[in-house]
Amino acid sequence: MPLTEIIRSAFRSIRANRMRALLTMLGVIVGVASVIALSAVGQASTDSVTQQVEALGSNLLTIMPGSASTSGVSLGAGSATTLVYSDAAAITANDPNVAQVAPLVQRSVQIVYGNSNTSTQLQGTTANYPLVKPTPVAQGRFFLPQEVTANAQVAVLGSQTAQTLFGFQSAVGQTIDLNGVPYTVIGVLAPEGSNGFQNLDDRVMIPITTAMNELTGSDVLNSIDVSATSQQDMALAQQEITSTLRNLHQLGPGEASDFRIMNQATILSTLQSVTQEMTDLLTGVAAISLVVGGIGIMNIMLVSVTERTREIGIRKAIGAKRSVIMAQFLVESVVLSVGGGLIGVVLGGGGAAIAGIVLHKSGLVSLSAVLLSVGFAIVIGVVFGVYPARKASALHPIEALRYE
């Protein structure tokens, strides 16, 4: 008996029990829909993290204090005090493959302007910071090298911080108060969003010299951002920095470095592996619900075999072979699981689209997730259809015909 006939008869018997078929498919629908929606959302967040990290610049190196032997990348580092201001100067002086060096001091501060106040992240850095990390200024200007040298009390505000303190009033030229010290606002940054670690629009930047004198009282740095002369020179620059700092810190050949150097690639792979793990986990949970859906199909197929015992007897009496009966029930359960899968794709795609709108991400449904979950649904239909189908095909014709 040709497959087209078998499929036609499967559709006929499914149509005869529409409501039941829909309920049977529900498990697979939910399973496939969640696989697709979750993997789409996961993909979208992986994409956006990738984008943000790539926006950091491709020849950027970040030097962080701490031991390199620590496995994994601790992004909340900063407790170690092994990087100091003179390290940055040494790198600038000694390493030919390094183009720009921007040491960074970070601290959270309270800013007061008149009656408004807000707590934000303070970044003390040098005037060439914008050359290492793009930092577009919307109003006013960034501070100048001579202001850094002179310990000037000038500040550049993040767009959101400026908005919080000044509303629609112009911030440039106003005087703000950081931990009791007055600063003149000389610039406001353009809105940038988040870089994956912090909100770039909520910060205040001041000369690093001022920050060390007035706020931290030490020359300990939180990090040093460095740009290599070109992307090809990244490895060389990294080697030079390593040997400069090891010399400076007087580390012997057997000793571990007390700093670590991250480049964009390592940051990216760390973040991506985290989001990938999350996605896999969610998808795995969704896959379990697919399996549960398969059990639902098996359940209904077993009921259906019992209900249609007589039909099976009739078919056998007029010459249906075992394989034909088997195929009939197997195709039916596959039609149910694939039908559920397709409905699930539509619902999951819709869910991903909505999530994309809500999260402001292009919640792209990946073809591989669709193929994978529909393929998995087919496998589920076959695996959970085999037992009922075998049961049907093994019925003895006379006993099946006598079944009331």
Partner: protein, 243 residues
């Protein structure tokens, strides 16, 4: 066809025993049945309820296997055949007609008649033509697309007869085909069987109604799982199965 082939029995049963195990006890439904039926015979199997008529028919129709004894249909021994080979045999050589029609519900008369051809691998177009033809021949040209629940008992039985005939079987087996019908339909269906016999078909009917038996040329009577008598036109039939 040679003279020998013509006289060769279509059915040849030798010492058939069929036992059922009911509640741990062995119960013998057939106790040594020996008979042969020749091509183009019209045989009625009669006897009281529970005497083994249906069990015999089911074995004849290859729906069931005997516990012991040899059964040959059209010269082939059945006991050696696999399940799928039996299915093929039922499909090609036997037309079975049941008391309760056994049509597929939710399936039109035409599709019911097409079914045996579908299992035989007849292409769709030919299938449709032959099924239509079979239903027209049996007087159901107006009911091709009706489902069983839209047909009377007599009409349903005609559909099942058309279905039994459509693969041109060598043997028509009917187990109480008029048992669920009124007198008028019974008469029509019996006339139909007589026609089919007259056209050269071999027909075996199980019945417990004497007037149904009267249509047959030969009557085999069962009692307690054994053949009680076997008469053709009033004369005893010698079973040649033992030679």
């Amino acid at each position: 066809m040679s003279h020998e082939a013509l006289s060769q029995p279509i059915i040849r049963m030798q010492d058939i025993i069929r036992e059922y195990v009911v509640g741990g006890e062995v119960m013998r439904a057939l106790n040594g049945v020996t008979l042969s039926i020749l091509r183009n015979e019209f045989v009625a199997i009669m006897g009281p309820s529970g005497s083994g008529k249906s069990t015999t028919m089911n074995i004849m129709g290859c729906l069931d296997r005997p516990t012991a004894g040899d059964y040959q249909i059209d010269g082939n021994s059945v006991s050696a055949l696999q399940e799928d080979e039996l299915a093929q045999l039922r499909n090609m050589k036997i037309g079975f007609i049941f008391q309760n029609f056994n049509l597929l519900a939710r399936t039109t008369a035409l599709e019911n008649v097409e079914l045996p051809m579908m299992y035989a691998g007849v292409p769709p177009k030919e299938r449709r033509e032959r099924a239509t033809e079979a239903l027209i021949r049996i007087g159901l040209q107006d009911r091709l697309h009706n489902r069983p629940n839209e047909l009377s008992g007599g009409q349903q039985q005609r559909v099942s007869i058309a279905r039994a005939l459509v693969n041109r079987p060598v043997l028509l087996l009917a187990d109480e085909p008029t048992g669920a019908l009124d007198t008028r339909n019974t008469a029509e269906i019996l006339a139909l069987f007589e026609d089919l016999h007259a056209q050269g078909n071999t027909v075996v009917i199980v019945t417990h109604e004497n007037e149904v038996g009267a249509h047959a040329k030969r009557i085999i009577r069962f009692r307690d799982g054994c053949i009680e008598s076997d008469t053709a036109n009033g004369a005893m039939v010698m079973t040649h199965a033992t030679d």
